[in-house]
Assembly symmetry: D2
């Protein structure tokens, strides 16, 4: 399991006094990017050398409690499933002991023409 | 069914050349707000007079094709289900004949202490 | 003078209950894009055919009064000055009779290597 | 001089392949918030106890070079001037040896009715 932390700033909040719902997807993507960086998958390199891109196909977002200004969010990221041309990641966002949001994100592997592409064994081995 | 349209500007796109995935949730919320305004539900008034707020509890987002800079997005919004203290809305985002994204959004009705609150008959009657 | 209008949604506000300061730059850019579209300057076409891009070099932003949720913002856009390879635009954002923000934006004309490029007579004639 | 660093993620970029111009104001505000936190000024506390808010009145933004995806931005923040009811901060954003953007931000101190309020000696002493 991979963990990283991000602070909530004014830009993330809305007039309801809490984090705007779409912004949980921003925090989640920062966490996935850091996860991939940490396991040695460089998305820019993958695109240039192998012509392989990761694109989000499906997001399921459960909002349990609202995050607020100045909160330090902790995000856990797990690879739940690896298929031939897609990955499902599970992410949990919390603040201290409080469970705030859960996400399930399906990411497809595509070539530069946006057609499904198989994940290479090299990439797969880093994700397991 | 309610429809409204929004243009894609630079702010909505990312370095992949397409609309950033979290921003579909922004377009969807603009559309839900316009829907509520059109059926005569004023969220600020509801909050002040009745102490009732709508909060998003769950989002399911399917991304089919990417939207791009300058696209005029068309968003259809339907109330799929009304329960005692929640509403499920279904939204479809397209550009011309191209189907881009589908969302299902569960919205809870809460009081100012964030406890579940029943939808009034007046509000319900406007949503049907 | 060119005018266009945009509604303030939750995404534009912050926990202070007003429009987040950076978002005035988003509204201003939407207005400049609509201005260019209306005078017949297609930025994508300019980039593809002539290899010419517009990039913002300087912004001066004066914030007079805060905009709030549901406000309908009115934005006036004027070309203040056209030089060989740059344009200065002046923009005013208001809501009803209330003056909210003023911007002065310097836009440079560059080629695909980001070197200054002269504005063509055709483009200049549309801006005057 | 205060320094902090922030990574550029997809959310910060636009279809031009670079950081969207309004987002430099987001990075700058994160840096000002961290600066205030580090010198012991808690904005939420200031608001609750003293009824004092900081609001941005003017921003001058110079864009020198574009930041790109994955760049680690370094932001220097200095208090340039302290007046009775306002502060001017100067901020410089760079990546490695490359100077990207300069900002000058005038922040006013106001009471809860948005009228100018004097900075307390306690707050002033922390800013010098």
């Amino acid at each position: 399991m991979h963990n990283c932390q991000f602070r909530v700033y004014y830009e993330d909040t809305d007039a309801g006094g809490v984090v705007y719902y779409a912004n949980y997807l921003k925090f989640a993507e920062r966490a996935r990017t850091e996860y991939l960086r940490d396991v040695g998958i460089n998305q820019s390199e993958l695109a240039e050398k192998d012509g392989i891109l990761f694109v989000v196909r499906h997001v399921s977002l459960d909002l349990k409690k609202p995050a607020r200004l100045d909160d330090m969010l902790s995000i856990n990221t797990n690879v739940e499933k690896i298929a031939g041309a897609s990955i499902i990641m599970r992410q949990e966002i919390s603040c201290g002991q409080i469970d705030l949001a859960h996400l399930s994100v399906k990411i497809a592997c595509v070539d530069t023409n946006m057609r499904p592409a198989r994940l290479s064994d090299n990439v797969k081995s880093k994700l397991v």
